[in-house]
């Protein structure tokens, strides 16, 4: 047994509409000849009709499964169609075969199904197993051996090349043409090769690759009854495309003397060849167009991502000192997104002449969804900071807005606070974010944090406000976990120690904030080396000079 195809149906006439198209497609792929496929088509419809009329409610509760495969033994082939249903036990083979209809008055047309099943199959089998009826239909044929091309042609007499021609004449013309069996993966024609023969596919499947590479998307399928090699055989030029056997295939080789002298003189063949070539040309044009369209779409997508990145950047404060016009406060942020659009955010703005609002956050995930969520947060938090004085109220308001209808269960961490610039008093609250650091001449320590849930996943979360006084010359350094969790190629994390080490290398109280941020970034890049950043890295520093 080789590959098999499977179809799942529900017991309704509408669902059964997909049965025949499936059978034709799968049967063609498995190399079942048209005549045998037609028989199977009849059998499948009769088997399904039986399930519909005798299966009862059981048949409607579980899917009906149809399986198709081909058994090979030498040149003998057997297509096996199995249909199983969970309906009431019913062996259609035990039903009485209807006598031929006698008169219209007493005809009820029952029992015809079995007659058609018998007439269209070589063997029928029924068994009841695992609570299912399993009906097996077998249809047999002979696959022509290498010796007899005429015999193989029976299956492809309606192939495009020979449509409308006299089958006997074709068979005579091809009687001594060699038939080749190609194992899967065999290259029949290669670009650059000289070729004067036409190959007609009898069974199996070939694919042509215009670019000479066997990437799965670029292959154009050649099915039984179709031919390859006509182009080079006609114009005498080298083969232009790679032709490979996708599975074990049989081809009949038509050398020039047979193709030109015997076949092309058969009425109808030349015209068929022309329409075949036209069709081939159309198909390859479509493939080229499709590739082109996909490339354009990809370019377009890249452009849109670039625009999204610029938009996102424009939502956050720009690099460099944030309030250069003020001499009572220094503030500066820096950000390095991992992917082109990231999910980190920070902000700093004055809500009144003396009160500075600062925040930093990290949205779950990356890419466009994280960027959209982040953009929403930036907008919401600006409104919230303008309407309340309490940092915990800012977070509660933000959480209420984000948790409503949060189907994608996205969330963010968020630290925020209000700094009274003249006194240095910072009131702050936290939703699942890392402790900012307080960097002073005495050393670096973490800001103690109140407990607080991540923002977004649960409605009604409560947050607390704490207060601290920040001395002049002490830097409040907020960061996202992309900084401390950045890894090097040994898998080690930059860690809090790495961050503190970078900060300690500078005179904490006097160095410009820009150089502090640069030092951290430089240390981080030196540490991670060639390893690209896995997460966005964002820093926000605030200091009263």
């Amino acid at each position: 047994m080789t590959a098999h195809a499977e179809l799942s149906l529900t017991a309704s006439p509408e669902s059964f509409g997909s049965a025949s198209p499936w059978l034709m497609q799968a049967g063609g792929d498995l190399g079942i000849p048209p005549a045998q496929l037609e028989s199977l088509d009849h059998c499948l419809d009769e088997v399904l009709a039986n399930i519909l009329s005798h299966g009862g409610p059981g048949a409607r509760q579980a899917p009906i499964v149809a399986r198709l495969y081909v058994c090979r033994d030498g040149t003998r082939r057997e297509a096996v169609l199995e249909v199983s249903d969970a309906g009431s036990p019913f062996d259609p083979l035990q039903a009485t075969l209807a006598p031929k209809l006698a008169t219209l008055a007493d005809a009820d047309a029952g029992g015809l199904g079995l007659m058609l099943l018998r007439g269209n199959s070589d063997e029928l089998g029924y068994r009841r197993c695992d609570g299912c009826n399993q009906l097996t239909v077998r249809v047999r044929w002979q696959e022509s051996g290498a010796t007899s091309a005429a015999q193989c042609l029976r299956g492809i007499s309606d192939s495009a090349l020979f449509r409308g021609t006299d089958a006997a004449v074709i068979a005579a013309a091809l009687s001594d043409s060699p038939v080749l069996t190609l194992a899967a993966g065999t290259r029949l024609l290669e670009p650059g090769q000289a070729n004067d023969s036409v190959y007609l596919l009898l069974s199996g499947r070939l694919a042509t690759y215009l670019d000479g590479m066997t990437s799965p998307e670029s292959g154009i399928a050649i099915l039984p009854g179709e031919s390859v090699g006509e182009m080079s055989a006609i114009d005498g030029k080298a083969v232009s495309a790679l032709v490979c056997a996708e599975e074990e295939s049989q081809v009949i080789k038509l050398p020039p003397e047979i193709f030109w002298e015997r076949l092309n003189t058969v009425p109808g063949v030349a015209r068929n060849l022309l329409s075949l070539l036209t069709e081939r040309m159309r198909r390859s044009n479509e493939a080229v167009l499709r590739t082109q369209r996909e490339r354009l779409e990809l370019e377009h997508l890249h452009e849109e991502l670039e625009i999204a990145r610029q938009l996102q950047n424009s939502m956050l404060p720009q690099p460099g000192p944030l309030f250069p016009e003020r001499c009572d406060i220094e503030a500066e942020g820096a950000m390095a997104p991992a992917s082109s659009v990231g999910g980190d955010l920070f902000d700093a703005f004055f809500v009144s002449p003396q009160r500075l609002f600062v925040c930093i956050g990290d949205v779950s995930g990356h890419g466009i969804p994280a960027a959209l969520f982040m953009a929403r947060i930036v907008g919401l938090i600006r409104i919230a900071a303008m309407t309340t004085d309490e940092p915990h109220a800012v977070l509660e308001h933000l959480n209420a807005q984000l948790s409503a209808g949060n189907e994608a269960s996205m969330f963010a961490t968020m630290f925020c606070g209000f700094l009274d610039v003249p006194s240095g008093r910072l009131s702050y609250s936290n939703g699942g974010h890392w402790s900012p650091l307080l960097v002073s001449a005495a050393g670096t320590r973490e800001l103690p944090l109140p407990k607080g849930m991540l923002i977004g996943p649960i409605s009604g979360a409560r947050y607390r406000t704490l207060e601290v006084e920040i001395e002049r010359g002490t830097t409040l350094l907020c960061y996202t976990d992309g900084v401390t969790e950045a890894r090097n190629d040994a898998g080690d994390e930059f860690s809090m120690e790495g961050l503190i080490g970078a900060l300690d290398s500078l005179p904490a109280t006097s160095a410009p904030l820009g150089s502090v941020l640069d030092a951290v970034r430089r240390e981080l890049l030196r540490f991670s080396g060639p390893v690209p950043l896995a997460d966005d890295c964002t820093l926000l520093a605030v200091r009263r000079p």
């Binding site: 198209p21 209809l101 219209l104 005809a107």
Partner: protein, 118 residues
């Protein structure tokens, strides 16, 4: 690649109704046209000529629909004849199952018209 099944009809001046079916008369196809076929066959004034030349496939379900239509036509005192392409699979199946013995079957439409009108 689903082949849709369709039904169309035309009434002639002589009270004949020509009904033509096309596509597959399998389970799904027959289901799609069965109600309309039954209505067309019972409401015709006199005879019905059912043209199957464009039918590509027929199963027992489809045959049953033909027999039911012919029966209901006969019960209302009219005739029904089939037009089937001479050497088609459809003709072969209708002959194998004996449908041709109980419903007159013709290879050309004029003969079918004459049989139903007579």
């Amino acid at each position: 690649m689903t082949v849709s099944t369709s039904i169309a009809f035309r009434d002639t001046g002589e009270g004949l109704r020509h009904v033509s079916l096309s596509g597959r008369l399998d389970i799904a196809g027959t289901e799609a046209i069965a109600a309309e076929l039954a209505t067309l066959c019972t409401t015709a004034q006199r005879g019905v000529v059912l043209d199957l030349t464009a039918v590509s496939f027929i199963s027992s379900i489809g045959i049953r629909a033909l027999v039911t239509s012919a029966k209901s036509r006969e019960q209302r005192g009219g005739k029904l004849a089939l037009v089937v392409a001479g050497d088609s699979n459809i003709a072969r199946i209708l002959e194998t199952t004996g449908v041709d013995l109980i419903i007159p079957m013709f290879a050309n439409a004029a003969e079918a018209d004459a049989a139903v009108a007579g």
